[in-house]
Symmetry: C2
């Protein structure tokens, strides 16, 4: 259930009219590994297994789909329990690092990017993209965002192949959750993609998730932050911002016409 | 320092042009109480003391400005240390609740809103507002968001009095941080305001911060989530969404023309 009806009063300069409206659903999801509570996130219900898998993968807690024995709801539609395969140890230091990097990244003497290098392997080389492929993406993202069109309240994340064909699209009230759902959906099939597009801005954490997901190009409808650009340039992610209205800006990497 | 210059390539359907651009700065801030690390948040530097005070206040860790002895940077521009006055005990259970409610709210058997009631006192009654006051707010917020205009990358939060006069405006790469900075700036002066306006969407956590800050009206440029509306109706917050272009929707509370 990703949307619910509600009643509103629509106010203009001259009128005030009762009406119906549709809201994007926001509910908490607790993600457990076995008996251990790993995280609680405010999310839009749906694709919960993709969200749990993508979250654990992009935060560095699990590395391969083969690490996962099962993912299921556990006593509540708002609790997901991930079971790891026999022999897959849950590295407690990775969990610590996870909590550290989720709330932020390394500080206290280290610069952020130095601390991050511990967690994220650089991409092997910058991925060049063709402008003609990028120009196609915004309309594909918009067309796919069905719940956003009805509620105005959901972030979208879409993964495309190198030719700009849509591979996977997910929506959520949370920016990070939409990305985790899209990456997690492919991760569960042992796949990845070439381009990640997000409906909002590109922050440090979105750049980090793209790199951990081994996706070479991040395209954002909104602006990137300073740290997003620094990290993309350091770790060979091609980073595009303001991707809309038949134009975009290249902040890291190379694009050909 | 809220913005930094960078170089970009601007790509259109027919051209590709090197140019300069300006990025919103994103850096980690560690918030400590004494020697204890309370949280790390990705924020735009500036107004760090407002951010620390607003965060601790809206998360329920401190209750009155008189609880605070001093707030200062501590060994790094990215670490802020808050000292509490003698006799002000740091309630460990509040901190636990803080971490719980930051990552989310109560689950596991309780519904979210039931769990929240433990943390947040309802507002005494719904605050009615005049439509003529609300219609003025979007242009005041836009005019005040200087860094957003240059970077496209900052969320804004503004607090107004009941007549719609701007009391305080803050910007940040993080939605929650902008709200914490604005509420924190007034909290440090022992003041509050009548209307909180945010440049983005209204989530559960923004609604919670408004209520803890005893602000009766939350106006969002974007959409509210289902949980934001539920919480606002339960706890007497007047909640307005899509406040732009001379119109808005009333999701909770009463508005007169």
């Amino acid at each position: 259930m990703s949307e619910v009806p509600t009643h509103v009063t629509r106010v203009t300069l001259s009128s005030s009219t009762p009406d119906g409206d549709v809201l994007a659903v926001e509910e908490p999801l607790e993600i457990r590994i076995g008996e251990k509570n790993i995280a609680v996130t405010m999310r839009t219900p749906g694709d919960d297994f993709d969200l749990a898998a993508g979250f654990l993968f992009t935060e560095g807690v699990i590395g391969r789909v083969g690490d996962v024995e099962s993912i299921r709801h556990w006593g509540s539609p708002n609790v997901v329990r991930v079971a790891l395969r026999d022999g897959v140890a849950l590295d407690a230091s990775k969990l610590d690092r996870h909590f550290y990097t989720t709330s932020s990244c390394g500080i206290c003497g280290k610069t952020s990017i130095e601390a991050l290098r511990v967690v994220v392997e650089p991409l092997p080389h910058a991925t060049p993209v063709r402008a003609s492929v990028i120009h196609r993406l915004p309309s594909l993202l918009q067309t796919g965002q069905a719940t956003f069109r009805r509620t105005g309240g959901l972030h979208g994340a879409a993964i495309f192949d190198a030719e700009g064909e849509l591979v996977c699209l997910r929506e959520d009230v949370g920016r990070h959750n939409a990305v985790d759902k899209a990456i997690g959906a492919l991760f569960r099939e042992g796949r990845t993609g070439a381009i990640l597009m997000v409906s909002g801005r590109a922050s440090f954490e979105i750049v980090q998730k793209a790199i951990v997901g081994r996706i070479g190009v991040l395209a954002a409808v909104g602006a990137p932050s300073s740290l997003a650009v620094d990290l993309a340039r350091e770790l060979n992610l091609t980073l595009l911002g303001f991707v809309r209205d038949d134009r975009f800006n290249v902040y890291a990497g190379e694009v050909s016409q």
